[in-house]
């Protein structure tokens, strides 16, 4: 073997920096506590939080009955003119809080599904969960003619059942990403034709109601919905965050992750169950709002540049996207109220296309 063929090896040179790029270590109590801090991620998360808060205040203030911005904080706390307080506390604040909660739940769940399937299309929209929930809800509306709570339960049942079926069909020596997406597309198509059949057999008014539910909307959501989605987030969110690092390791390949000491099957089952429950809760509260779960994780990872899934970033991005989309839905064609689901695709889609376009133009190939 000629020595010249071997790449240069220079023992003794240690110019390389070893702390992960863009991060620094925060060490306290003499090494007993060492945290890895990433300023860019912190800034992005902070900015998204501020954006959501700002849009929340704006959407509470604007409307056919406008409330001056300076009166908003008082009205939120319950002081000021009675009509202000009524609109803020009774109508607009719960609606905006629901939007933020639903957006966060969809964003974080979407990040989990995409990470597990190692596929940017692996969101609950594509893998059949949303379709299952919609079919469950439409069945309840059209066959049983039941009220909102029953519709929500029907949506959750339909979604979980479909997720389980897709998961079982796609599973062979663990879950393979493309199989999950392909099986999901197939099952979604079948469920779509079931829904279409039900709609053709329904009374016109029932069919209208079902159709509106299927677009997803935040119209008329109150404190009950706020409680439902935020309790789910508070209980299930931390479970996902605790598994976040393991999830990123599984993106290296299953054997590699196991070699590094990740119990891949336990992680997979835990996060899949929790993410499904969060998606179910979001759909039960607001209907199948499209595109947030697909776009938010992609936007978040591009903004934070972590080269992997960012769960917190995805949740905050989802929240910001939906609360902005709902504001637009309320005001774009006022007094006509659009369903938020119509707007999410337009806003999230154009933002994602713009990001991809600049990325590809930037020649990162």
């Amino acid at each position: 073997m000629s020595d010249t063929l071997a790449p240069p090896r220079r023992p003794g040179t240690s110019g390389g920096r070893t702390t992960p790029r863009g991060s620094f270590a925060l060490r306290l109590f003499g090494e007993r506590l060492s945290l890895l801090v990433r300023p860019r991620t912190l800034v992005v998360c902070l900015a998204l939080t501020l954006l959501s808060a700002l849009v929340l205040v704006v959407s509470v203030s604007v409307g056919d009955y406008a409330i001056p911005l300076r009166a908003v904080p008082g009205a939120i706390a319950g002081y000021g003119e009675r009509l202000d307080v009524f609109f803020v506390q009774g109508v607009r604040l719960p609606r905006a809080l629901t939007a933020i909660g639903v957006g966060a739940a969809l964003g974080i769940a979407g990040a989990v599904f995409q990470s597990l399937s190692r596929n940017a299309l692996g969101s609950p929209d594509i893998i059949g969960f949303t379709s299952g929930a919609a079919t469950g809800a439409v069945t309840v509306i059209l066959v049983f003619g039941a009220g909102r709570v029953a519709v929500s339960l029907g949506a959750i049942a339909g979604g979980l059942l479909t997720a389980a079926v897709v998961y079982l069909l796609a599973m062979k020596n663990g879950v393979q990403g493309y199989r999950l997406v392909l099986v999901g597309i197939g099952v979604s198509a079948m469920l779509g034709s079931v829904r279409d059949y039900l709609l053709t057999r329904a009374e016109l008014t029932d069919a209208m109601g079902a159709q509106i539910w299927m677009i997803g909307s935040l119209n008329g959501r109150g404190w009950g919905e706020v409680a439902a989605v935020w309790v789910c987030l508070a209980l299930l969110g931390p479970v996902l965050l605790a598994q976040g690092k393991r999830l990123r390791f599984m993106e290296l390949g299953e054997d590699t992750a196991r070699g590094l000491g990740v119990s891949t099957q336990a992680t997979q089952l835990t996060v899949l169950a929790v993410a499904s429950a969060l998606t179910g809760a979001a759909i039960a509260v607001a209907g199948p709002i499209g595109f947030i779960a697909l776009a938010a994780p992609q936007l978040a990872r591009r903004l934070t540049r972590t080269g992997g899934t960012t769960l917190v970033g995805s949740a905050l991005m989802g929240a910001a996207l939906l609360v902005v989309a709902d504001l637009v839905a309320q005001r774009a064609l006022a007094p006509v109220q659009l369903p938020a689901g119509v707007v999410t695709a337009v806003i999230g889609g154009s933002y994602l296309i713009w990001l991809l376009y600049t990325e590809w133009r930037g020649g990162r190939a």
């Binding site: 073997m1 063929l5 071997a6 790449p7 240069p8 090896r9 220079r10 023992p11 040179t13 240690s14 110019g15 390389g16 920096r17 070893t18 702390t19 992960p20 790029r21 991060s23 270590a25 060490r27 090494e31 007993r32 506590l33 060492s34 945290l35 890895l36 190692r118 020596n173 690092k245 990123r248 390791f249 993106e251 290296l252 390949g253 054997d255 590699t256 196991r258 070699g259 590094l260 000491g261 990740v262 119990s263 540049r305 080269g307 992997g308 990162r364």
Partner: protein
Amino acid sequence: MTTPADAASRLHGRDLTLAYDQRVISQDLAVTVPDNSFTVIVGPNACGKSTLLRALSRTLRPARGHVHLDGRVIGSYPAKEVARRLGLLPQSSIAPDGIGVADLVARGRFPHQGFLRQWSKQDEAVVAEAMEATGIADLSERSVDELSGGQRQRVWLAMVLAQQTPLLLLDEPTTYLDIAHQMDMLDLCAELHAERGHTLVAVLHDLNHACRYATHLIVMKEGAIVAEGDPATVVTAELVEEVFGLPVRIIDDPETHTPMIVPVDRRAAAR
């Protein structure tokens, strides 16, 4: 059932039945990895050598029998504990888009980290040393995407080294590399074995490479171990013909004086 040889071995398996779902690959397999050896597993395609390596690394749970690591059944350790004793370089891994070299190597520290201990000075030093040992210190600021196949394989190996495990299991570490990078990788493995005292187990395709580098050779055929020991005594023309169905001559490798396999020219015999 423990034989005297096992007592001296940190990693061994007994009565192993290895299977994927219903498809049985190996039955009643007994394997011992001698401590401080550079063990190489060879055999024809689909003979079960990678499957055996997966069982030894706990990536595959045996249908029957047990693999023992440091005196305990490997499945009885917590996952992270295994990863502090035994490192695995699988056949293929996926580098996330845009991940940096140092970031990827740093992931090897996972089994030593916890919620309150995310990035200690020791982590930093170990990662630097792993990159030094694999000759990629100069690449630390680069993205893994930009690297050549040979460089990439070194990055993955550095990640496994950062786990600081006495045992290293490598599944076909030279596949997809050109001959210069293959030798480079094997020299690196030999260095890890001889100078850093790692016990290595590698699955290799090339018999000549195996003979050159192995201190202990395991030859497999159809899921069973048919021969094992020092390559110089184990490798014979009869064995190679029996295992691979290929008539060969064994000559002395002029460089290393290990057995060198030269296939018989069947076209000449037919003429």
